[in-house]
Amino acid sequence: MEGLAGLGISLPTLIAQVVNFVIFFGLLYLFAYKPILKMLDERSKRVKESMEQTEHIKEQVAHAEEETKKRIEAASKEGHEIVAQAVRTGEEVRQRAQQEAKGEGEALIARARVEIQHERDDAIDELRKEFADLTILAAEKVISRSLDKEAHRQLIDKVLSESPTLKKG
């Protein structure tokens, strides 16, 4: 035991150091190891989670981008179609309007022509009648005798119908 004491081994100090160590162990366990390990675990968990989330979001973004592209393409195609259709419809409308206008104009002209013809015929009739009466009257006066009125009229009509200017319709 003399040698051990010379080396410095003493039971009280040894016990004290063992107790120190145990206390140190306990305190560190309570104040350092447990909370820090928990924190490290939680952090690594969070990092993992956020990495996964990032991956997920990236995927979603890519997906959304593709979707958007597709939709834009579809929309632009549709737009082109609509424009083309509108142009076509416009053209049709224009043509129809033109045709209608043309038809209407022609009908108007035709009606006007018919009316003019009627007027002319009426005027000629009137003129003829008056002219015949006048002629009869004159002839009566000239030959001073009353001819058979009916016979005369027929005669005059015949003459008139031969006349180029007073020819009917």
């Binding site: 100090t13 150091q17 140190f24 350092a32 190891y33 820090i36």
Partner: protein, 323 residues
Amino acid sequence: MPKRGCLGFSFPLLIVVLLAFLALFLLGFATGPLGKSILGNVGLPDWLSVSQPHPELPAEVVFHLFGFPITNSIVAAWITIVILVGFSFVVTRRLSIVPGRRQALLEFILGALLDFCQRIAGEKNGRRFFPIVATIFLLVAFNAWLSLLPGFGSILITNGEGESVHLLRAANTDINLPLALALMSFISVAYFGLRSLGFKYLGKFINVGQFLEGLRQLARGKLMAGLNAMFMGVINIFIGLVEALSEFVRIISFTLRLFGNMTAGEILLLMAVFLIPFLFALPFYGLELLVGFVQALIFSGLTLIFLTVAVTSHEHEETAQHQ
């Protein structure tokens, strides 16, 4: 424009600083025993020279607490414990997922130790062994580093018996602390071994299975086979005893390795300061910083390895034999 100068000094300033260092070194040389024997006494004041150290292995008793002797090494160990526990307490009182500087420091230290444990002992066992390994590492390393501070081995007080003793002494250089650590290491190895292997762990040391098998064969009348098995059994028992002995030798080697290294370092520093009081000891301080770290790593690393072996050896050996 290239920056002129060296080590952050401009050249003239650097020269001045170097001259000051040289003067300090020469002064130290002249006051130390080396210089005195060469130059003779050049009339420098006495208080500049350092008296010859008389390192003693037993730690001195500073005071008694309830009749229990408290040595200066215990005081030093207390200081280490208070500093480390206090720091941990302050840091872990408010933990956040985004660490501040102090939390990052503590997390870095413990994270590195945990990584060390898990790389050697595996994911799950590393975590189980981490507290004991980390505690040993921190205590040894910080004891060693703390003892490099001024005040260790230089503050003298008078204790109850009227002797003049040092107030502080590096805890690692008192053999009781290394011995206590070695005992804790031994106990933890036995604890984890028993816990994970049960009585099979003790079977490694008291290996009588084959001997009994030999006796049984002998009783059945198989003389040759019985004697053969008994012979192997005796060898196995002997191996078991050697294993048991090595467990205890381990305590001694653990103790003496740490104690020897740290005491040698302490004496080296004392002698360096004694020979040339100024500047000369600086490289040795750097060396001691490294030695403290290395010894802590060795102590905790070996404990970790023995723990790993105690937990896994049997299963591995058996599976290896079956294959």
